[in-house]
């Protein structure tokens, strides 16, 4: 039941924001902050209980809750968490809190509706991470889409309309294919067993013809790799990321992309194991293409948010490659990568947002020498630049190291190609650092270094990324209990 509360808090908090903003526009952000903090507290409590993994003999699921929803169609409200979900939920509320904080000053118009959308997106995301009923999963998948679309459409930058449509259509197209696949699975399973159900555990027992499995899996896969994103289905991402408001970019990069990876791990691999093994080589190849292509694209960008967006494409390539290596070590790396990429890329977007607030541009050719006036921000930016290029002692290194170590056992050649991503990431990261923070001072105006509120956001992110790099075992212990 506690899991349901997580979502209810967000949904009702969102409604409350919208309603109260009619009378007191300032209240909305406080309500939103309280809602995410309450959820974060609940999560931390669960983590303290189960952080060392579940006890032997109690199964892999830490908390489960199931109740009938639309029984006539075999739809139930079935939510549960295991180590993977727990980690992702923690990430969701951690970044969610920061997303509220970094909207604090940025959002001035229609704040109530803004926080409504923000919280509902978070609700959809957390729903996706806990749902164990495929219909419910699809429902949450849609819930997180629409408010995000509105966030981009209303509070985005100049080209927001194009970006929002593109985001919506891409995700929706994938979503529909997934719905078709869910329905086919539902009918096939119903025909086989006589009981029609969307429940994850029931559907796991479905016997599928290899050909049918392949097609149904492709429906899921396409939805998930669009979200991930996999090259060449990535072209919604740079537009959406660069046009979204800061919190939107943070949630998109930090959380929304992860739902794709989560979907593959939770649904595609267990439901269609053989079919997934059959496409493993191709999936790994596309992952590697993503790593290199994303990095090259990042290298060629002049818009700072677009640049960071493409680094996501590159980093998520590691996730795809790692998942389809089918090695436990690689899977551990994938989970690490999901978490650390969320933090490091999130932080870069937050930094980009702060720079944009001060300089009113995203064009890096108009920046330069910002370290001189903002040494503290420069220091933090250096830290996350290094995180993004995978420097040891910072979390991303552990993730990429484990992924590559796992894939090495699956395919040497692809691993070698993937690891060139480490050189390319150095290329684009150092270029970004140099163009933005180093070099002679270009803008004449006096810029204020980070404020206390910004310091809290950045310090939290910095500490998180360093702790993950120094003691990655915390995450691994939780995920290990998945087995």
């Amino acid at each position: 039941m506690i899991l349901v509360w997580l979502i209810i808090v967000l949904l009702s908090g969102g409604m409350l924001c919208w309603i109260t903003a009619r009378w007191r526009p300032m209240a909305a952000k406080w309500i939103a902050l309280c809602a995410v903090l309450a959820d974060l507290a609940i999560l931390l409590n669960i983590w303290l209980q189960y952080g060392k993994g579940v006890q032997a003999g109690t199964g892999t699921w830490m908390i489960q809750y199931q109740t009938a929803w639309i029984p006539s169609f075999g739809i139930s409200f079935h939510v549960a968490i295991d180590g993977l979900s727990l980690i992702l939920l923690l990430l969701t509320f951690f970044l969610g809190t920061l997303a509220v904080l970094c909207s604090w000053k940025e959002i001035k118009s229609r704040a109530g509706f803004y926080y409504f959308n923000l919280l509902w997106t978070l609700a959809g995301i957390s729903g996706v991470f806990v749902a164990l009923d495929l219909f419910l999963f699809y429902f949450f998948w849609e819930v997180m889409l629409v408010p995000m679309y509105l966030l981009i459409l209303i509070w985005g930058d100049k080209n927001r309309r194009y970006a929002a449509y593109k985001f919506f259509i891409f995700t929706q197209a994938g979503g529909l294919l997934m719905l078709l696949s869910i329905l086919s699975l539902y009918f096939i399973h119903g025909a086989q067993s006589g009981s029609y159900s969307y429940d994850y555990f029931s559907l796991l027992n479905t016997q599928l013809e290899p050909a049918a499995a392949k097609w149904i899996m492709m429906g899921f896969m396409i939805a998930f790799v669009i979200k991930l994103p996999m090259v060449p289905f990535h072209s919604w991402l740079p537009d959406a990321h660069s046009e979204a408001p800061t919190a939107g970019s943070l949630i998109l990069a930090g959380l929304l992309l992860k739902t794709g990876a989560y979907g593959i791990i939770r649904f595609v691999l267990p439901l269609f194991h053989q079919a997934a093994v059959d496409i493993a080589w191709w999936a790994m190849l596309f992952g590697v293409i993503g790593i290199i292509y994303g990095a090259l694209m990042a290298f060629a960008q002049t818009d700072i948010k677009r640049l960071i967006a493409y680094t996501s494409v590159s980093h998520m390539g590691f996730v795809l490659t790692g998942i389809f290596a089918f090695r436990e070590i690689a899977m551990q790396g994938v989970v690490m990568q999901i978490v650390t990429h969320g933090i490091s890329t999130g932080a870069l977007f937050v930094l980009a947002g702060m720079i944009k607030e001060r300089l009113h541009t995203r064009d890096i050719s108009q920046m330069g020498g910002l370290w001189t006036s903002m040494p503290a921000m420069g220091g933090v930016a250096m830290l996350f630049t290094m995180a993004s290029l995978g420097l040891p002692v910072l979390g991303n290194f552990i993730a990429e190291f484990l992924i590559l170590m796992g894939t090495f056992q699956a395919n040497v050649l692809l691993t070698v190609l993937a690891s060139t991503g480490l050189v390319f990431s150095a290329l684009y990261s150092l270029r970004m650092m140099q163009k933005v923070f180093l070099g002679p001072v270009t803008s004449g105006e006096k810029l204020t270094d980070i404020t206390a509120r910004e310091m809290i956001i950045l310090a939290t992110l910095s500490i998180a990324i360093i702790l993950l790099g120094l003691y990655p075992q915390t995450v691994m212990d939780v995920v290990l209990s998945k087995k």
Partner: protein, 628 residues
Amino acid sequence: MNLIYLVPLFPLVGFLLNGLCRNYLNKSLVGIIGSGSILASFIVSLIVFFDVKAGHTGVVSYFEFINLGKFAIPFAFQVDQLSSLFLLIITGVGFLIHVYSTSYMHEEENQHFARYFAYLNLFVFSMLLLVLGANYVIMFIGWEGVGLCSYLLIGYWFKSIPYTNAANKAFIMNRIGDLGFLIAIFWIISKVGSVNYADVFAHTNAFSKSDLVIVTLLLFVGATGKSAQIPLYTWLPDAMAGPTPVSALIHAATMVTAGIYMIARSNILYTLAPATMHVVAIIGLATAVFAATIALKQNDIKKVLAYSTVSQLGYMFLALGVGAYTGAVFHVMTHAFFKALLFLGSGSVIHAMGGEQDIRKMGGLGKYMPATHITFLIGCLAIAGIPGFSGFFSKDEILAHAYMSNPVLYYIGLFGALLTAFYMFRLYATTFKGAFRGTHDQEHHLHESPAAITIPLIILAVLAFAGGYVGIPEFIQPDAHSLNKFLAPIFAESMKVMPQHELSHSTEWGLTGISTLLIVIVVVAAWAKFAKKPDVEEPQGFGKVLANKWYIDELYDAIIVKPVYGLGRFCNNVLEKLVDWIVNGVGRSVQYGSRQLRLLQSGQVGSYVLFMIIGIVLFFVMQFFFKK
């Protein structure tokens, strides 16, 4: 041995204090924290060293860095002869450089001064981690750490675009090498299932012959990046963009010796892979001579020294390649002394010249700055290999082993040594002898540097002279090579495997005699030539090729840098546009399709009913299909 964690801890604390409180500390406090932390580390290193000498070696484990059940990477330190010796070099020379920096960097703004010392401490910390790690992953963490610090320090004056370019170049070239290291680690894990030195070296039979060659070659790729060997050496001369003490730190105490350390540490793997040994020896020798030829025609005082480092590192790899592991480590040590001395000396000169680095504008500085002059001369004598000075012993040991392996290696190596003697004394004579060629203002400004600069120089000069006496060769005095005895346990396994052949004492005397004679002739010739008439006009013909460093930078630019830029632009302007065009094309066709579909909604109830019926029929058909 229980204190070993303190060695890297002090510099780490120094880094954090100076880095985080850079706005609140004044310069003298920053200097005390910065240098004091390294001094503390040095003292602990001394304790550890004598502890090790007394026979207390082993692995100290702290916590499980990564533990995945069947595979674990502990965070552990390796305390033995090799690491304790490196600790002394790193912290000892490092400390002198820190002290020197307090004076050299005094003009800097407060917060940048603190930033500088923070970076410097982090550099030493990373290097200590690299050396102390008891497995390849901890070594790799330090390995990347020194890469980061070199980037930060080379680009310390971040307002200058060329400097930050040099910093980027250093980082990226190192990264390319690191890739080799990383893949080697994966290879080792896939064969042995562990990265701990103890496990890997004990299970060399888990590798096939070709595995060993591949793994050692990949590790060597890492070494070529960090230790600036062909083909990844070009970052090191550009690294001169950083402040001069940083160059001293990179070239002497940290960073470039990492590759030597790594191979010396993995010596058993290399010994079992003779093919790789040959590659290492050839690359090392080629680098030694190649870099020496470039140094002949450089006019920037630091550039000459930079190429001489590349060249000397080449000798170290030659030593490793012919199995003279002790010789390589020996040369690391003596080189640390005299190269730190030379760089700091050049810093003192640059300081006096008001930032001028071109030796064509110097001359006759000897009489203005006697301490710098004499210590620099000692450094030159040591690097040239004049008998009695430290460089003589280590270089001689390397060349003797090269001769044992193959006389051709010896002859080419000797040729390189002659070039070294020549360019070093060209540098010395042009800078300190003859008449002053700078402006009147500069001449007026010439002065000896303060004590914080000259005292480190004097200490290093003493070491550069006397450092060689820990390795007196067998043929001069039997049983006097104490370094060899000290390091013997590290290389014991390799020595068992390697075919041992000794040169007769008369051959060794002969070789040493010939090389010494030739070197002395070259030194005298260069001294006489450049003290009288320095080489100030623009080089012509072949000299121009050398002055332009064989155009290697231009070559890399044309075959690597430009194509990568081009590829990036191609992706951005062509591929991505294509993807977008297709996507928008789909959008357009959907729009078109929906216009056609709109015709279906004709408003005629009849057709609606028709479609409804078709739909229902289809539904039943599907039901029937799935029921089966």
